[in-house]
């Protein structure tokens, strides 16, 4: 399950909290739903395919896995920049979704070559990197600022629903049609193509009323200048700081299974628990963010995560502890994932919207990658309990730092 980093964008108009969401939000939600069915089908199938059908060694597999998860950060920046530069976020998003769809067809062609598979995975992830910032920019540009939290809530809920559906489709295919690779890749490709068609057909691009200026205001210099804006810089730093103490999901589940003592066979089901809570709570959390301020909700989400890590220290707690931890973990995602984009969006000037969102997302993603590697080293060097304790202490410091960075900022200044 790919739950770690997702993104969203913002909009600047009059603050309106009530009312309907634009149809573009639902259309983009449907695109994400279909694309996530496609992507998570592959995520569920890839280990079987690589380890069983192709019999790649686990070291090769580990390297590919790292590549798969780490390759997107830079492309996000590029996707955001190109999208702003061309003023065509929909076109760039389309290219990203299209690349990932084509990758599904390329897997069987790459055969058992480790380098070939790695190349296809990189291409697939490149598509994801490219499309994320322009997609979130499309959401913010279409939605009145006061409803951004809700808009991202709806989008993330639909996205997560697709992510839950994907593995089910894969299971059905494996059970009915066997572990041969072609049906999984073919069906995954179909879902990806459906997503592309919905994007092309139902997503309306927000066309700026002004004629295109002779010289585009969008340049690398202008994008770098985004970080000179205090508010953007601070939210990027705060998100990055908190990202540094966020343990990757996989580790959370492994540690949770070990300390709570729930049966090992439930390990594959733990991510489903988090996803279900995320799915259910995304819209309510988005509404809460619109109402009480996005930064406070984002911050509170991390406080909940701190609680989850604390729960990891309770040994032998069994199911009650495991359920409490999964509830908290899902709430953390609901309170932070789309909310960060809703929070950052209005701070970024409209012409630089996709780039600005990409900067915030990339900061967070890179921080989380570093934290994963770091936590891996901690686990190798000390006991699990000591490693979690250390993270817990660092977490408190990071929370304090983030609070300091954004202190004395009236909640509405960031919320609107």
């Amino acid at each position: 399950m790919y739950l770690t980093t997702r993104n969203g964008p913002p909009v600047t108009e009059k603050p309106v909290t009530g009312g309907k969401l634009p149809s573009t939000v639902f259309a983009l939600g449907a695109v994400s739903l279909l694309t996530d069915v496609s992507a998570e089908m592959i995520t569920a199938f890839l280990p079987v395919y690589l380890l069983y059908t192709l019999q790649l060694g686990y070291v090769q597999f580990g390297l590919l896995d790292g590549l798969y998860n780490g390759a997107t950060a830079m492309l996000r920046l590029l996707g955001g920049f190109v999208s702003d530069r061309l003023r065509r976020p929909k076109l760039v998003a389309m290219a990203g979704y299209g690349a990932s769809a084509l990758a599904k067809l390329a897997f069987p062609l790459a055969g058992a070559s480790g380098a070939g598979i790695g190349g296809v995975l990189a291409f697939d992830r490149a598509g994801k990197g490219l499309r994320t910032a322009p997609r979130d920019a499309l959401i913010t540009l279409a939605t009145p600022p006061g409803r951004l939290g809700r808009a991202f809530g709806v989008h993330r809920a639909m996205d997560t629903f697709g992510a839950l559906l994907g593995p089910l489709v894969t299971f059905w295919i494996l059970a009915e049609l066997g572990t041969g690779a072609s049906p999984v890749f073919a069906v995954s490709f179909c879902f990806a193509v459906l997503g592309c068609i919905v994007l092309a057909t139902f997503v309306r691009e927000h066309v700026p009323p002004s004629p295109k200026p002779a010289r585009s205001p969008v340049s690398w210099r202008a994008c770098a200048g985004l970080l000179r804006d205090r508010r953007v810089r601070r939210i990027t730093l705060a998100a990055g700081l908190l990202g540094l103490v966020t343990i990757s999901d996989a580790f959370v589940f492994v540690v949770l299974q070990k300390t709570s003592g729930v049966p090992l066979e439930l390990l594959p089901l733990l991510p489903l628990g988090t996803a279900l809570v995320f799915l259910t709570a995304a819209v309510p959390m988005g509404l809460a963010a619109d109402r009480f301020g996005r930064w406070p909700v984002f911050f509170a989400g991390h406080v909940v995560l701190l609680g989850v890590y604390a729960v990891l220290l309770v040994p032998g707690g069994g199911f009650p502890v495991a359920i409490a931890a999964l509830l908290g973990h899902g709430l953390f995602y609901a309170a932070t994932d789309g909310v960060l984009m809703a929070c950052a969006g209005p701070l970024v000037p409209e012409p630089l919207r996709a780039s600005g969102l990409a900067v915030v997302q990339t900061g967070q993603a890179v921080a989380r990658l570093l934290s994963s590697v770091g936590f891996g080293f901690l686990l190798a060097a000390m006991s699990m309990r000591a490693a979690v304790l250390l993270v817990l202490a660092a977490f408190v410091l990071a929370l304090a730092g983030a609070a300091l960075l954004l202190r004395r900022r009236r909640p509405d200044a960031l919320a609107a």
């Binding site: 199938f45 790649l56 049609l177 041969g180 996989a250």
Partner: protein, 325 residues
């Protein structure tokens, strides 16, 4: 183009319908063209079991060991990894959405004795010669997210005499180079149990190093034998261990045989690229599954254990070989 712009929604809906119809037709056609339920029959001594890789259905098939190129017959099981000895069969197979997998332990009459949930992808499976000790390894891929080169395995052992289950060998105490191995990243895989139903060999790894360990089930202990080997397999007479070992630091593996008395290690020529726990067809010959690497599917190869000849193809489009004695 102009027509397309004016009828965007209609064109979108029509193309979506086309994709759904094409995908549905493909799935229907694939499922309709699958095998027509060949009659299943029980395997017996002198048979070689293996998993058929030709159509992705993972049916366990058998051939006569004396005639491995002869007719292949289906058995009743579908597995991703199988092993059988002493009348007990262990089958690692698809269990439910997720997709998730299970360990199915079957008695001599094909009766299901026990199923256990499996955390991860089926990897290795073994039954002791007496049929009493069952072990398996699964590959847990989630642990290593975003840590390049990281991975994790879970190895379980079930004693059918007492019903005692070891969920993970990580609960045993392990000594490597005279020191207890306690790091949280230790992993175990590829168990092979000796004729006494208590001594076993396995692989342990930590921080990118691997060791062959010798263990004792009742006392729950393991001791290093030597660094490097993975996926050990004890010969029927208990005098030799076959395993895979790395050619270079991160290179592919080759098959080697260690004489437990003389400590002489013999690398078997032509086995480079093996990634399997080999099985002993008898005291002098080994078999293993390998993807040939030229786009063909996994096949089972046989090789003499003394390194006197290169491997030869035993069964095409097959994996997980199991000689029935």
């Amino acid at each position: 183009m102009r027509w397309l712009r004016e009828h965007r929604v209609a064109a979108g809906i029509v193309s979506m319908l086309l994709v759904v119809l094409a995908g549905g037709a493909y799935v229907f056609w694939t499922s309709a063209s699958e095998r027509g339920g060949a009659s299943a029959s029980a395997a017996g001594p002198g048979d070689l079991l293996f998993i058929d890789q030709s159509d992705g259905r993972d049916v366990v098939q058998r051939v006569r060991m004396a005639d491995p190129g002869g007719p292949r017959q289906d058995t009743a099981e579908r597995c991703q990894r199988v092993y059988s000895a002493g009348g007990t069969t262990v089958c690692l197979r698809l269990a439910g959405p997720g997709p998730s997998y299970e360990v199915a332990v079957l008695g001599a009459d094909g009766r299901l004795l026990r199923t256990l949930g499996l955390a991860g992808i089926p990897n290795r499976a073994r039954v002791s010669a007496s049929g009493q000790i069952v072990s398996w390894t699964s590959f847990v891929t989630g642990d290593s997210y975003a840590v390049p080169g990281g991975f994790s395995t879970r190895t379980g052992v079930l004693d059918l005499r007492t019903g005692a289950l070891v969920e993970s060998l990580e609960d045993f105490s392990t000594t490597v180079a005279g020191e207890p191995l306690l790091s949280a990243d230790r992993n175990y895989w590829g168990v092979t149990v000796a004729g006494d139903d208590r001594t076993f060999y396995a692989t342990v790894s930590s921080q990118n190093r691997t060791w062959l360990v010798k263990g004792d089930l009742p006392t729950r202990t393991m001791q290093e034998v030597r660094p490097g080997p993975e996926c050990p397999s004890l010969s029927p007479d208990g005098t030799k261990v076959a395993y895979k070992k790395r050619v270079g630091r991160l290179g592919s593996w080759e098959l080697a045989v260690l004489d437990l008395t003389s400590r002489h290690e013999q690398v078997l020529p032509g086995t480079t690229g093996i990634d399997d726990q080999a099985v002993w067809l008898n005291d002098t010959r080994l078999a293993y599954g390998q993807v040939p690497g030229d786009g063909r599917k996994s096949s089972v190869f046989a090789v003499p254990a003394d390194g006197s000849a290169p491997p030869e193809l035993l069964v095409a489009d097959a994996s997980s070989p199991v000689p029935l004695r």
